[in-house]
Symmetry: C2
Subunit: 486 residues, 2 copies
């Protein structure tokens, strides 16, 4: 234990002593330096130091931890790989942080049932790697898939560039073992399509750690598509590109992925990874189709012709898997690419109806000018999930605040046009106040009823995901006073 631990108060050490009855010493992190890596997730504008970090290795240990926390009324925040973008894994400074990183076993890959049984700390990509020998893979592929854990994917109901065709986490997780807020172990969902009783599996997915802690997961595996190609097209306006997106969908094609980047994002990505993007384009579409080879080629031809009809200024089709990977590389690197050209960036996540793409991008451009902050737009266009990256410099007084305010305006815009304040990154701490833009009192009351029912002591990830009544009052009084401060 290093020097900084000496500053811990007696309460913290007494708490650690209680956990020593349940865990080995090396599973309990007390000193500040060792706790530091856990003080934030991938949205580091929010930081907090937990009393303790606990690193259980079994379901039983997770259960024992939660039971003790329930007894002591100590908040519990579960953490996967810490790649979340809405501060969902932000520690509670009066609670313990439970890292699920050591529950990282792939228990079983069953090629016949096309199911993998894994622990929550398993990395998203590791599932597909384990299934590869059977020609199978796990479909949801968040940009962070090399690092992010399936448990975190469940907490946020993560998507990825292929969710247009293959769905979000909720569509690919069949069942789970859960430790409840009161420390019971139960199974939700199952190995089949449906089960009796309420759909607790879906209820827990995307609930951001507020209803229980996942300790085992059954995921659906899919056969790897025989063939896949990407059509990449440049456009001289986002409006044209937006119309082209609608045209592809209206033509009855379900692309495996359909992504859009604006001029700013194209240049940033191209500077970073040389994906061969048309630098002069104002908008880029990447449209992947997969399946049987003939079908893919037929669809590629159709998509090319639609793109040209809607004003594509350039159009290329990936010739092989290496080129396909290269086309995607730029898109997947869009966030770090923004990081190279701006000291800080703030990634938003909202959804809008597909047909509103052009109009919303124009409105975002106006907001960008109004706030004097550049915005780089990358976009799951096929399912209307936008990710504006607001570029700012936190060392310039007021810029962080302006970025946050601008982000809020974008989310309110999403709700106004019939969309949602989050597509796949979750609400976490970041978007709590915008929940009021999306949900009315009756809807919020239902959320609170569910939370109270499943976590009566309110110990699981308190203050995240769903604004509490107190938070609602606070946000409303700020709004009423004309401010949009957070």
């Amino acid at each position: 234990m290093n020097a900084s631990a000496k500053t811990d108060d007696g309460g913290k050490l007494a708490l650690a002593a209680r956990f020593r009855e349940l865990l080995r010493a090396d599973q309990i992190i007390v000193d500040a330096e060792s706790k530091r890596p856990y003080e934030c997730d991938a949205l580091p504008v929010y930081k907090a130091m937990p009393l303790l970090v606990l690193v259980p290795e079994t379901t039983r240990q997770v259960q024992a931890i939660v039971r003790l926390c329930y007894e002591l009324k100590v908040p519990v925040v579960a953490r996967g790989a810490g790649t979340g973008l809405s501060a969902g894994a932000l520690p509670d400074s009066n609670g313990v942080l439970v890292s699920l990183a050591r529950l990282s076993r792939i228990i079983e890959v069953d090629p016949d049932a096309r199911i993998a049984r894994v622990q929550p700390g398993v990395r998203n990509l590791a599932i597909s790697e384990a299934a590869e020998e059977f020609g199978l893979y796990y479909a949801p592929d968040p940009s962070s898939q090399i690092a992010c854990s399936i448990g975190g994917n469940i907490a946020e109901n993560s998507g990825g560039v292929h969710c247009l065709k293959y769905g979000l986490t909720v569509h690919n997780v069949l069942g789970m073992e859960i430790v409840t807020a009161e420390g019971e172990i139960l199974q939700v969902g199952g190995r089949g399509l449906d089960t009796a009783g309420y759909d607790l599996n879906a209820l827990f997915i995307g609930s951001e750690g507020l209803l229980g802690i996942v300790t085992e997961v059954w995921v659906k595996l899919l056969p790897k598509p025989e063939h896949a190609r990407v059509v990449m097209a440049g456009f001289d306006s986002v409006l044209n590109a937006g119309d082209a997106v609608s045209a592809v969908i209206a033509a009855g094609i379900i692309p495996a992925g359909l992504e859009m980047m604006d001029g700013f994002a194209i240049q940033a990505a191209e500077d970073f990874v040389n994906a061969g993007y048309p630098r002069d384009a104002r908008a880029l579409l990447l449209c992947e189709v997969d399946g049987n080879e003939d079908e893919v080629l037929e669809h590629v031809e159709r998509i090319e012709s639609l793109f040209r009809e809607f004003g594509a200024t350039s159009c290329r089709v990936s010739r092989d898997d290496a080129e396909r990977a290269l086309f995607w590389k730029g898109r997947k690197a869009a966030f770090p690419a923004a990081g190279r050209i701006s000291p800080d960036y703030y990634c938003m996540d909202g959804t809008i109806p597909r047909r509103k793409i052009g109009a919303v991008l124009e409105a975002i451009q106006q907001l960008s000018e109004q706030y004097g902050l550049r915005i780089s737009n990358v976009f799951h266009a096929g399912d209307g999930n936008l990710h504006p990256l607001i570029l700012f410099d936190a060392s310039v007084p007021g810029e962080l605040h302006a970025a946050e305010e601008l982000g809020g305006k974008i989310l309110e815009l999403c709700v106004q046009v019939g969309g949602s304040i989050t597509g796949e990154h979750g609400v976490g701490v970041e978007k709590l106040r915008y929940m009021l833009a999306q949900f009315n009192d009756a809807e919020l009351a239902q959320f609170h009823a569910i939370k109270d029912a499943l976590d009566p002591a309110g110990i699981l990830n308190p203050g995240k995901g769903i604004p509490t009544l107190r938070q609602c009052q606070e946000y409303r009084s700020i709004d009423a006073s004309g401010g949009a401060k957070r």
Copy 2:
């Protein structure tokens, strides 16, 4: 009002008078004869007469009804088309039955967003009919799709022969407007893939009317597949057919539907509709593939060769859509076909892992012999959802009871091999006691917590879906005394 109404007690008429403040006289059914059609759903072994039947025409009227019932603590049972098979719409004799039949408007078909917005009383097939002009359709297709309503589909999370590829109702309903147990109107889900907050949309789907009443629905529409074929193969044993099912899935093919019928079901269907089934086969597989023509033909060839490899004694491929429809006609008529050869039949609904198909069918055969009751097996084989039809004669003393007991043994068998007591028909009243075979106390406690949270007065469809604590005690004491009576 006819003579029978005179036997109504004053309380009932007083209740009717209260509803007269909310509804026109012709929307309130008081007399017994007019209420008769509502006394059961498609599982007529359970019957009850409600105090009143109410026929609202708008969301506001549904809201007003629920508010009054909440005030008076009167049970409310919502009913769609009454095609349910687990007595989920059985009236409460101390409550009102709310028929949603007149909320039957298709409000909007949006081909661009591929969404239809409909009222709950709209028939399943009517959605596809309305979307046809845009080349779109609604995928879930329960056998009763001509008659069943989308509201009822939501209550039971219905599937159909194509759910292997296209999913159940929960995978195809994006959002809903709900009237809560306290009479609030709220929206769950949305028009996009995901929304913020807990996934109440999924929670409500399959909740059998216990958590709220649906008054509007957004369903996902899919482009109609370009091409589809059915491979029909006879086998001389259910074991071989079961192995062939696993082989198709293991080959990386995702059929649009993969159905199995045993010898008894084949003959009954063939006698009824002349679908061209091989009468001497002990098992029949119907495997549909859809998509691009080349892909379909490639898969058809692969499936034929796998079927022959696993011992198919006959194999035919549909030549055109008319023949494809004919092949399906026998399968879809399997239930009425059983009705022609037996005075009564009892349709079970359980799921099992695919690889257990052969073993479970053999065990069902043994149970059939043990109970002296014939069983006809039809089966969504691809997703392991079995529908044994137990044939009996209710006029023979003891046969109904024996059929129910035999049905229970089959469900327990499903749970033992890792399956579920319902695949798509719901629990209703019928399977309440078997919930104890599937869920432990902690799991049942979570269900109760959810119910109490969303319906604190317990007025919505009481006594269905989830066994209450009292019912649990009752079932356990019966089990403890060695009986299996219901």
